[in-house]
């Protein structure tokens, strides 16, 4: 190769091995497992979209905080008429979109009308269904009139699908999002990362960080390595719970176990025998040891639930004791229902670990009472088509991650995959839809939970935990995940 060649090679090698520059302490690198398919939460349902842009880049009229409470957002205050039909919002002054367009009431009217238009592709069109008209009496005032009262209206306005967009930039928001948040979009290297930079034009309290980099790492081993080596500062949803002990033992990192709105249930198809018999459903519930399930499938992270409600919600009613683990009793109940020798059933499992690992444990537990389960792993696309739309399944395990979505059990036998139909329950949900008084809503929610537990409308398993790892010096991130989001507006580096 010759002397010169060797020297050149050596120089190249040294250049390649030189130590990397230390990350500036005004930026944070956040790791995510799934990459968002695009960056506009008003046209795409993927949770990963909100996890990048919610509160950081886009804002709504209201904002959901880390405790799941409704806070002012682009609307600094509001009044609701006594009949619950008219909402008058006062908007924040001096706010602008990242492209310089002023934020005024016309932007709100545009966003809401766009979301509820007949040809809209908003994934949560139901949020906007109660809206009758949107009026803009002043540049800083919006009046929304509903066709019927909606107790969830303010909460829904704070969700990712309801963020305010500008009429100028809406068509290109998927790839070049333009919002009113404290961070603006800088670049998206598909497959690798999204960078957001702080904007000086923000009209609210300035965040302490100057730059956010969201990096996408799907492989659990690679995610663990990236956090360990300092390439990633925080991983709010660590995909490898088995590596958490390593991080707990290391003083450089903090492991934060929090709650999410994810209610993991084993849904049973009530259009088919024997699942239409409540005794069979109760027997299935009694045959499952939830603690063992959480320990085995989720490495001990998770909280048992007895109905379709997250334990951290104020209106939660603890019904986990309704069907305690008792295989003998379960077998007796099955016999009473006419299945003394048990029966065969299939269990369709989508990709996530809670389903695949949980399914194996449930298969073993149900075998104890004579129920022979065949596990069928499916991809999300197949699950959506076969189970969710085609209702072609016996049992399946899935986690519902929408907040306060107990109303899905009132959708009716022909419109939702459970096949559950109880007019008494439907009535409670109807009342909930129009109730606005918090005490009344709490009582109705508890009634709804009780009915679902009495009927065991699905076999309720556990609430998904949020298992996050972060650099010990990075503070101000959400510990819980009441909605899918990584609100970095309050994050900062402690010294």
């Amino acid at each position: 190769m010759g002397m010169r060649g060797m020297l050149a090679a050596a120089a190249l090698a040294v250049g390649l091995i030189a130590t990397p520059a230390l990350a500036a302490k005004d930026q944070a690198v956040i790791g995510m497992v799934l990459e968002p398919p695009n960056l506009d939460p008003t046209t795409g349902a993927a949770a990963a979209i909100a996890e990048v842009v919610y509160a950081n880049l886009f804002e709504g009229l209201t904002r959901i905080d880390g405790q799941g409470q409704v806070q002012p957002g682009l609307a600094t205050s509001w009044t609701v008429s006594d009949d619950g039909l008219t909402y008058t919002f006062t908007l924040r002054h001096g706010a602008t979109f990242h492209d310089g367009t002023k934020f005024e009431s016309d932007a709100v009217k545009f966003s809401l009308d766009r979301a509820r238009a007949p040809d809209s592709t908003n994934p949560q069109k139901a949020f906007f269904e109660p809206i009758k008209t949107v009026d803009t009496p002043a540049a800083d005032q919006v009046v929304v009139t509903l066709s019927h009262p909606d107790g969830m209206f303010l909460f829904n306005l704070g969700q990712a699908a309801a963020v305010i967009v500008s009429s100028v930039s809406a068509p290109t928001d998927s790839t070049k999002p333009v919002g009113t948040g404290p961070f603006k979009f800088t670049e998206w290297v598909p497959g690798d990362h999204v960078t957001l930079d702080r904007t000086d034009a923000y009209a609210g309290p300035a965040p302490k960080l100057n730059k956010l980099i969201f990096r996408f790492v799907a492989d659990p081993a690679a995610a663990s390595a990236a956090v360990m080596s300092g390439d990633i500062d925080a991983f709010p949803n660590m995909p490898a719970p088995e590596t958490l002990d390593q991080f707990k033992a290391d003083p450089r990192f903090v492991v934060e176990i929090g709650t999410t709105a994810g209610k993991t249930v084993m849904a049973v198809n009530q259009r088919r025998k024997p699942f239409d018999d409540v005794r069979v459903r109760r027997a299935l519930a009694m045959a499952i040891d939830r603690k063992a399930l959480i320990d085995g499938a989720m490495f001990g992270y998770g909280t048992p639930i007895g109905s379709h409600f997250a334990p951290y919600e104020a209106a939660y009613k603890d019904l986990t004791g309704a069907y305690p683990y008792d295989p003998a009793k379960a077998k007796a109940l099955l016999a009473e229902a006419g299945y003394p020798d048990g029966f065969k059933a299939t269990l369709k499992l989508p990709p996530p670990g809670y389903a695949r690992r949980g399914g194996e444990i449930i298969q073993a537990q149900l075998a104890e009472i004579g129920v022979q389960v065949e596990l069928i792993p499916v991809e999300w696309a197949q699950w959506l088509e076969q189970v969710f739309k085609g209702y072609d399944y016996d049992m399946t395990i899935v986690s519902h991650t929408e907040a306060l979505d107990i109303g899905i059990y009132a959708r009716g036998k022909d419109k939702y995959y459970f096949g559950y139909d109880n007019p008494a329950f439907d009535q409670v949900i109807q009342q909930l839809n129009s109730a606005v008084d918090p005490e009344q809503r709490k009582a109705l929610y508890q009634q709804a939970q009780q009915i679902l537990s009495d009927d065991e409308a699905a076999v309720f398993l556990f609430q998904l935990a949020k298992t996050g790892v972060r650099n010990a010096k990075l503070m101000g991130m959400w510990q819980n995940s009441p909605i899918a989001a990584n609100d970095m507006t309050g994050a900062y580096w402690a010294e």
Partner: protein, 315 residues
């Protein structure tokens, strides 16, 4: 020679057409609605229908096939359902990672395999040969993603010489980008080197047994001169074929290593597109990979025809 190459070129075109038809048909029967995947479980039927119409999914299959092929020939590979970006741009960005990675892995594997294979052939049936064959067995048996994870553990976590994955992009400077490719290329190269070393060894052994080599030695040429002037050049012909095949495989097969090192490469793009039912991207990537393999093999044939002056049989 020209007739041979012309025949090969026609075969190339027919292969590409056949590949495109097969890919298109297979994806037609694949279950899964892209609109449902994009809009989620809360989306209403009218929203889904609107999106399907927007994406052109409600047109008949032959129309969509011709539309796709026609567009591809003019450079328009369509727009990705999930990313809403032109597929040509997505593929271009990913090729900028996968192509250098494949080339680097190929270079490393050749640098490793050529001397090792030669050593094994020269020291045939002695310790050197067994050592190289042992390494080759190991290299073939050990999965390249495991090697990748071990490399990360050693060089990134313990020694801190490299990052633990990711790709900063060519815009951030050549040094950083190349650094991100060293470990993954090494992981890929080790398996390829194991295969290539064997091929080099057997090609050389076969050539060394040829009459003209014995004649050259009998004429008085030293072992070294014989190796350089006769054996190596002739042995390299089958080796070149294998290297060409390996390049095609590296372009398509690096997906697992790309996952371990979180590289935004072509394999990962295809993998994600399949999960998201982004059919346009899947079709384009698969046919592109088929094209790369076919074109590289054609080029190897050209090189073969040029350096080997013996007349070709039909086919």
């Amino acid at each position: 020679m020209l007739a041979f190459l012309a025949r090969r070129f026609v075969t190339l075109l027919l292969t590409l057409v056949a590949a495109s038809i097969v890919v298109f048909t297979v994806l037609e029967v694949l279950p899964g609605d892209p609109a449902l995947l994009m809009l989620g479980t809360e989306a209403r039927e009218d929203t889904l229908a609107a999106l399907r119409s927007q994406m052109g999914l409600d047109r008949p299959a032959p129309v969509r096939y011709l539309d796709w092929v026609g567009g591809a020939l003019t450079g328009d590979l369509g727009t990705s359902y999930t990313y809403k970006l032109p597929v040509a741009q997505l593929i271009g960005d990913r090729l900028a990672v996968t192509a250098p990675l494949a080339l680097l892995a190929l270079a490393l594997s050749t640098l490793l395999a050529l001397p090792l294979g030669m050593l094994a052939a020269i020291k045939h049936n002695r310790v050197g040969d067994w050592g190289v064959m042992g390494f080759s067995q190991l290299g073939l048996a050990v999965p390249n993603f495991w090697v990748g994870i071990m490399l990360i553990w050693l060089f990134a976590l313990q020694l801190g010489w490299f990052g633990a994955g990711g790709f900063p992009g060519w815009g951030a400077g050549w040094g950083g980008a190349l650094r991100a490719l060293v470990l993954p290329a090494t992981a890929l190269a080790l398996t390829e080197a194991a295969i290539l070393a064997r091929v080099v060894r057997s090609a050389m052994l076969e050539t060394m047994r040829e009459d003209y080599v014995r004649t050259a030695r009998a004429k008085g040429l030293s072992k070294g001169a014989v190796l350089r002037r006769h054996v190596l050049r002739n042995a390299l012909i089958p080796v070149a074929t294998i290297i060409g095949l390996q390049f095609g495989f590296l372009m398509a097969g690096a997906v697992v290593v790309e996952n371990v090192f979180t590289l935004p490469g072509l394999g990962r793009l295809a993998f994600q597109a399949i999960a998201q039912r982004d059919l346009i991207v899947v079709k384009d990537v698969v046919v592109l990979l088929a094209a790369i393999v076919v074109v590289v093999n054609f080029l190897v044939d050209v090189v073969y025809a040029v350096i080997d002056p013996r007349p070709k049989q039909a086919g």
